[in-house]
């Protein structure tokens, strides 16, 4: 199995039309990992708490967020989830983000392989656009598996 297929399951990829606000978006984007038992509900509160403290440092590039908190803030098992919010989520006013990748990591390094894939994939803004506008969640999943 590749690093990506170990870390991302089809059922953890979803497309939503919109989120009420950035806090709601964090709930929506982390929920699949809560449902799958990869993180506890505390992880949602942890990401919101970090955001209030440090700002949205997880917005890596225009239109792309890598939502995450620290392992001790509720991670059970390392895993990714992907949420596409069609209308975008404003973590900062006027800068909507459509691609929300949620990362649950158990330590600072063991997810390095998958991060390398994500960094390479999203270094090209065209790939962010492709994921943001993909026709279906199946298509989004396929784009990640082929990255």
């Amino acid at each position: 199995m590749s690093a990506m297929s170990d870390m991302l399951k089809r059922e953890n990829v979803q497309i939503v039309e919109s989120c009420k606000d950035w806090e709601d978006a964090i709930h929506v984007a982390v929920q699949p990992l809560v449902d799958g038992g990869f993180v506890t509900p505390d992880y949602i509160a942890g990401i919101i708490e970090n955001t209030n403290k440090f700002g949205p440092y997880f917005v890596l590039a225009p239109d792309l967020a890598l939502l995450h908190a620290r392992p001790e803030q509720g991670v059970v098992e390392q895993q990714l989830a992907v949420t596409i919010a069609r209308t975008g989520v404003e973590f900062k006013p006027g800068e909507p983000v459509r691609v929300l990748v949620t990362l649950a990591a158990t330590d600072p390094d063991s997810h390095l392989d998958v991060m390398r894939i994500l960094a390479t994939m999203f270094a090209d803004p065209a790939n962010i656009e492709k994921v943001a506008t993909a026709a279906s969640a199946d298509e989004v999943y396929r784009l990640f598996m082929e990255a």
């Binding site: 970090n50 440090f54 997880f58 890596l60 600072p108 390094d109 994500l118 960094a119 999203f122």
Partner: protein, 93 residues
């Protein structure tokens, strides 16, 4: 001052900072400084003696105000290797 250690930091020390860590390793090698040690950590663990140079995203610039200007690189796009290379070049030569 010769730069021997570069520390990349983000709010939780394993997402953005890990990406910047990987990109920084690549860039320092490209710039001909394979001897430079690169690591990543959380922003709250940053102090001026932890490394010779610190790399953070723009959102966290304010959190390392205690670090002298000549010891930090603040990135507007974390994934942009061209920006990283240009800014590191200014420090590494």
């Amino acid at each position: 001052m010769a730069i021997r250690k570069i520390m990349c930091a983000c709010g939780s020390g394993l997402g953005s900072s890990l990406i910047v860590h990987m990109n920084t390793e690549e860039v320092v090698k490209k710039l001909g400084h394979p001897e430079v040690e690169v690591d990543h950590t959380t922003i709250s663990d940053i102090n001026p003696t932890a490394a010779d140079l610190f790399v953070v995203g723009a959102d966290l610039g304010d959190f390392i105000s205690g670090i002298p200007e000549e010891q930090k690189v603040v990135l507007s796009n974390i994934l942009d290797k061209a920006e990283l290379e240009e800014k590191l070049k200014a420090h590494l030569g």
